[in-house]
Chain length 416, copies 2
Amino acid sequence: MIDLVKNFSISARRMKKSVIRELLKLTHRPDIISFAGGLPDPATFPEAEIKDIVDDVLTRHPHTSLQYGPTEGIPALRQEIARWMTRSGAKVEVENILVTTASQQGLDLVAKIFIDPSDPVIVELPSYVGGLQAFSAYGARMIGVPTDDDGIIVDLLEKKLEMLQHEMEHYKFIYLVPDFQNPAGVTLSPERRQKVIEMGDKYNVLIIEDTPYRELRYSGEDPPSLYGLCDSGNVISLHTFSKILTPGLRVGWVVAHPDIIHKLTVAKQATDLCTASLPQDIAAEFLRRDLMEDHIEKIKEIYLKKRDCMLNALDEFMPKHPQLRWTRPDGGLFLWLTVPEWVDCEEMFFDAVEHNVAYVVGNAFHCDGGGANTMRLNFSYPSEEQIREGIKRLAGVLKAHIKNKQPTEDEVDYIV
Amino acid sequence: MIDLVKNFSISARRMKKSVIRELLKLTHRPDIISFAGGLPDPATFPEAEIKDIVDDVLTRHPHTSLQYGPTEGIPALRQEIARWMTRSGAKVEVENILVTTASQQGLDLVAKIFIDPSDPVIVELPSYVGGLQAFSAYGARMIGVPTDDDGIIVDLLEKKLEMLQHEMEHYKFIYLVPDFQNPAGVTLSPERRQKVIEMGDKYNVLIIEDTPYRELRYSGEDPPSLYGLCDSGNVISLHTFSKILTPGLRVGWVVAHPDIIHKLTVAKQATDLCTASLPQDIAAEFLRRDLMEDHIEKIKEIYLKKRDCMLNALDEFMPKHPQLRWTRPDGGLFLWLTVPEWVDCEEMFFDAVEHNVAYVVGNAFHCDGGGANTMRLNFSYPSEEQIREGIKRLAGVLKAHIKNKQPTEDEVDYIV
């Protein structure tokens, strides 16, 4: 065979085996309680409705449901999305919508049409790992800005923008997961949203609003969306049916200015021609039948209980330590645990797996290599019973690691 | 809004509105007989079987059919593909297979992991436009090699390879559609296949075998596949269910050495995470039930008639002219018409549409800007009645253009 080392593209050479992927392989043993995934609970899938819809569309219009569709998405779905979003207060027309092969393709296409190698892109610390991977494939230089319980820290964001502007860098966009962030579970506050929008205009920079969980709020009030706050067209908003219907459909959508939608469409054509038609029909018909609102209420009921279960278990089992804390998300699928800084969560991971519990090491979500003392916990997939038992196990492992702080081999080498 | 002209990536700036797309917009009038598309005949869709299968899988395992799947593809589908391909003589294991969001994603991923801007890539003259678009998005420099009725002309191919080697260019692969090529309908001869494989080894270059139509042979004998001929791992083979099941599923697969499959998988993860699960289940179950062989026979019966209908209509209606000829494909969906060199098929297109018949201008398939006197005709979608009537109309338009050769405005300008 040809020498792959010599022939892979620079982009391919940047693609590393994902740490998450490798670690997750350890977590497939049936006795392991895994908080490492990001899967929706299959109990939230509207199986009966989907079965009925598939039967219906394959009876009414099999030829279009099984044929190629337009790259932009099938007209019925774009119309239904516009109707649904408009009902919840957004100003969205069909021409603002591109259907994508779920949100991940939205990230890939946005990267494809904006990023040249070495272009700076601003991301959160921590940030969604799939976003980091998509941007990295196109050679983006990731600039991390820390977050707190109210999302990205806007003063630090402005400092970075000032610096990038001062250095005449061709920065491309700010990438935010503003609602119940993956991984940290935090939500960008209304005041900060306003400031982010102002900065978009002031520094001439696009804002990518990646919001797969927005509809899944279990407590508190919805802040306005970034797309809704912005009058200048500077926000590209990424959505998906993965968490409110089912992820296996691989149907999402981008909302943006028509000039951006046009370029994304040309890019999508060379990427996968069009998104699968039958899954688009399922989503369109689900919306047309006005099933979405009630269905989302059902999902929220399930996840509210699971979130509370995890928070209660953490309160009950975790050791009390000033450097041990976790976020209390108002929605979404994840919460974020920060442990004392001398505990290395990657090292501890193997011990946790030994004790039949798994998480994702926070490091994977940090473009700056930080986050060694953090982890992401998923509460949507495991059962309440598993959540309680899993947090108990994790607390036990963590207690031992907090206490038995020993110099690692590396440190011994260093001391010697 | 930010200045898009300043902010689009180099790749985005290369993405032009497709000529085909723009011209096709003119062909949607119901009175137009269009040979311009590339759609399968919906009469070939196994609707009843698909309906039954969907009902079955959504009853037996709704949770996996609607959930995220592995990036590599669902295990059942990879196994069934391996079984099906092995039965037809290929040496394919599960580890050689990556499920893709149809063939177009295969092209995108191959480009992503191999092409750096300005890397030369060898393509056929003419070549599949979706391939050209996918490679162009990553900055490939397309080097065209002419084809004849036996596919790519291997002596000319070798000359290009020699030249590229001599100039120490980092050429990446040879892109071929060897079976009933889109657009020209020609098939690479067995002798030339052998030579292409030898050149792959001699010049250390990968061969991308894009073969969506291979199963659709209406006459003649199957030559061996390039993948089957190659022992060194230098062939990457792209496949799809689009033409043998339905294109709306968006399920295809790549067959390659496991080291290449691994890198493609990492690339796919950042691109769309995984292909839709339900469509994968449909394809897997269709294969598992051993329905494919008989189904392909039915498709071939339909397309054989349509191909013969088009060839007969061409023989009957087209003017006799030494510079007017067309390919006589043994399979696939397309044939290729070459008209006298003074007839500009793009100019004639508008006249054809006036006369309610449409085709794709051959120019779109030529990376070197050539092919102005060629066109692609699709025979899979229109009915036999439409094929006869459409070819009659096209012959009329063509006769007028062959006869009424007038200097164009440009030429007048030039002469002046």
